[in-house]
C-alpha cells in the first residue's frame, strides 16, 4: 500500500515539490493520494464530488508547498489537514443550500450506526487509532468523531448530543489530548 510510505520520504518529496519538482509531485501523489482521497471520501461521501475535492487538494499542495515547514509538523499532517479543511468546506457550502436543520435531525436518527463499518481500513494504523479511541469517554469520542468524520460544527455537535456548548468544546479538546497522548503524537 503506497499510503504507508514513511513520513520522512513524504517530507522530502514535499520539500522538493516546493522547489518546483514535478517528478517529486507525482511521487508524492502516489504516496499520499489514497490518504487524501480516503479523508475526502469519508467526509464528502459523494464519489464525484470527492474526486473534485481530491483534485483541488492535490493542486493546492502543489501551489502552496512553499508554506510547508518540516520543523512544524510532518508533510502527511500538513496535507491531511488541508484535505480535511477542503472537504469540510465542500460539505458546508453544499449544505448551505439545503435544509440544514432537517439534515441535523436525520443525523440524530442515524448517529447510533457505527461509523467503523464504512471505513476502508489501513489495518495497522487503524488498530492503533481504534485502541486510542477506546481510551476516550463516550462523549469525547462522539464529539471528536462527529466533528472530524461528519463535518459538524461544535454547535451542531452540541445540538445533536443534547449537551451544552461549553461542554462540547472542552470534550473535543480533552478527547483529542487523550488521543494525542495515547498515540504518542508529538506534533
Amino acid at each position: 500500500m503506497t499510503g504507508t510510505a514513511v513520513e520522512v520520504g513524504d517530507d522530502e518529496l514535499l520539500l522538493a515539490v516546493a522547489r518546483g519538482d514535478q517528478a517529486a509531485f507525482a511521487a508524492l501523489y502516489d504516496s499520499v493520494g489514497p490518504l487524501v482521497h480516503g479523508v475526502v471520501r469519508r467526509v464528502v461521501r459523494d464519489p464525484a464530488q470527492s474526486e473534485e475535492v481530491t483534485q483541488e487538494v492535490m493542486v493546492e499542495v502543489w501551489r502552496t508547498a512553499v508554506r510547508f515547514d518540516p520543523d512544524r509538523g510532518s508533510a502527511r499532517t500538513w496535507i491531511l489537514t488541508m484535505a480535511h479543511r477542503r472537504a469540510i468546506d465542500r460539505v458546508r457550502s453544499e449544505q448551505a443550500s439545503r435544509n440544514r436543520a432537517q439534515r441535523v435531525a436525520d443525523q440524530q436518527h442515524a448517529r447510533d450506526f457505527d461509523e467503523v463499518s464504512e471505513r476502508v481500513e489501513l489495518d495497522f494504523e487503524h488498530e492503533q487509532v481504534r485502541t486510542a479511541l477506546s481510551t476516550l469517554t463516550e462523549l469525547q469520542r462522539q464529539a471528536v468523531e462527529l466533528a472530524y468524520y461528519q463535518g459538524f460544527t461544535y454547535r451542531e455537535v452540541a445540538e445533536l448530543l443534547g449537551t451544552p456548548l461549553g461542554t462540547i468544546k472542552t470534550r473535543m479538546r480533552d478527547g483529542l489530548i487523550r488521543l494525542r497522548d495515547a498515540l504518542g503524537v508529538t506534533g
Binding site: M1, G3, Q22, F25, A26, D30, G33, L35, H37, G38, V39, R41, R42, E51, T54, Q55, M58, V59, W62, R63, T64, A65, V66, R67, S74, R76, T77, L80, T81, A83, H84, I88, V120, L122, E125, H126, Q128, V129, R130, E145, A147, Y148, Y149, G151, F152, T153, Y154, I168, K169, T170, M172, R173, D174, G175, L176, I177, L179, R180, T186, G187
Partner: protein, 279 residues
C-alpha cells in the same frame, strides 16, 4: 488573553475544523499571538491527521493524469512576504487578508520588530546599507587582492546609485506629508515613498532577483476600484531598481507587485508577491 479565557479551549474544535467561519477567523487571530495554543493546535492537528489516516481510498486512476496535467499550468506560490511597516503604517490596523497571509512566525516578528524599523530617508543611511552590501561581497570573495579592487568599485557604484536614488526621491521626500512604507522578505526589500497631497510616489527595490525569462515586475496602485498599473521595473545586476510610479497616488490604499509577461499587463495576472500598505 485574560479577557477571553475561553479561547484557549477552542484548540480541539479548531483542530477538527469544527468552528464556524467567524469563530475560526477569530481563533486564527488568537493563534498568532498565543504560543501555547499554537503548539497545542499543531499537536492536535497531527492527532486529527491520524484519525484521517485510518481511511484510505484509491483515487480513480484517471485522476492522476488530470492532476499532473493541471499542476503543469499552475504557478506555485512564492514565500509569503514578511510585512514590516514603518511607524506610521504600524499605527494603522492591517486588513484581515494581510494578517491571514502572515505565518505565525511572521506575525510574531512583526510584533517584536515593528517598533524598531526606521524609515530610511537619509543619504547616510543608504550609504550605510551599501557598505553592508560591500561587506557581504568581501566575505564572498576569498581573493584578498581582488577584494580591495572590488570594494573600491562597489564604493564607486554605491555613491552613484545613492545619488540617482536621492535625486529621484527629492521632490517626494520634500513634501510635508511624505510617508515611507517598507516591506522586506529574506533580504528582498521594497520601499515606497509617497506624498498623498502631491499624488506622487517612488518605488525602490533592493535585493531582487531578475524577473523570469520574458517577464517583468509590475507595480500596481490598489484603489477602491481595483488595481491600476503603476509602472514596470527590472532590477539591475545588483538587484536594485528605482521607479517613479505613474497613476494617482491620492486614491491608492496600497502598492502591489506582480510578475507579468514582458511589456506588462493591464490587470494583475496573479496574487501580488509583495504588498505595501499605505494605510
Amino acid at each position: 488573553m485574560t479577557e477571553r479565557p475561553d479561547l484557549h479551549t477552542l484548540t480541539g474544535a479548531f483542530a477538527v475544523d469544527a468552528l464556524p467561519e467567524d469563530e475560526q477567523e477569530r481563533f486564527e487571530d488568537h493563534l498568532a499571538v498565543c504560543d501555547a495554543c499554537e503548539q497545542e493546535v499543531r499537536e492536535l492537528q497531527a492527532t486529527a491527521a491520524r484519525l484521517g489516516a485510518t481511511s484510505v481510498a484509491a483515487p480513480p486512476p484517471s485522476l492522476r493524469g488530470r492532476v499532473l496535467a493541471e499542476i503543469d499550468g499552475v504557478r506555485q506560490e512564492r514565500p509569503a512576504p514578511i510585512v514590516v511597516p514603518d511607524e506610521l503604517a504600524a499605527r494603522r490596523t492591517a486588513p484581515r487578508w494581510v494578517a491571514a497571509t502572515l505565518g505565525v512566525a511572521a506575525a510574531m516578528l512583526l510584533l517584536s520588530v515593528g517598533g524598531l524599523v526606521v524609515v530610511v530617508t537619509s543619504l547616510q543611511e543608504q550609504v550605510a546599507g551599501l557598505e553592508v552590501a560591500a561587506g557581504a561581497a568581501e566575505q564572498a570573495n576569498a581573493d584578498l587582492a581582488s577584494v580591495s579592487a572590488r570594494l573600491a568599485e562597489l564604493e564607486q557604484q554605491a555613491s552613484e546609485a545613492t545619488l540617482v536614488t536621492t535625486s529621484a526621491l527629492t521632490d517626494v521626500l520634500a513634501a510635508p506629508d511624505a510617508i515611507t512604507v517598507s516591506v522586506t522578505h529574506d533580504d528582498v526589500l521594497g520601499r515606497v515613498v509617497a506624498s498623498p497631497t502631491r499624488g506622487e510616489a517612488v518605488f525602490i527595490a533592493e535585493g531582487w532577483d531578475p524577473a523570469p525569462h520574458e517577464h517583468t515586475y509590475e507595480l500596481w496602485l490598489i484603489t477602491p476600484d481595483g488595481a491600476v498599473p503603476a509602472g514596470l521595473f527590472d532590477p539591475d545586476e545588483r538587484g536594485r531598481a528605482t521607479r517613479v510610479m505613474t497613476g494617482d497616488m491620492a486614491r491608492a490604499t496600497a502598492v502591489g507587485i506582480t510578475i507579468e509577461p514582458e511589456g506588462g499587463s493591464p490587470v494583475p495576472s496573479d496574487e501580488p508577491m509583495m504588498v505595501l500598505q499605505l494605510g
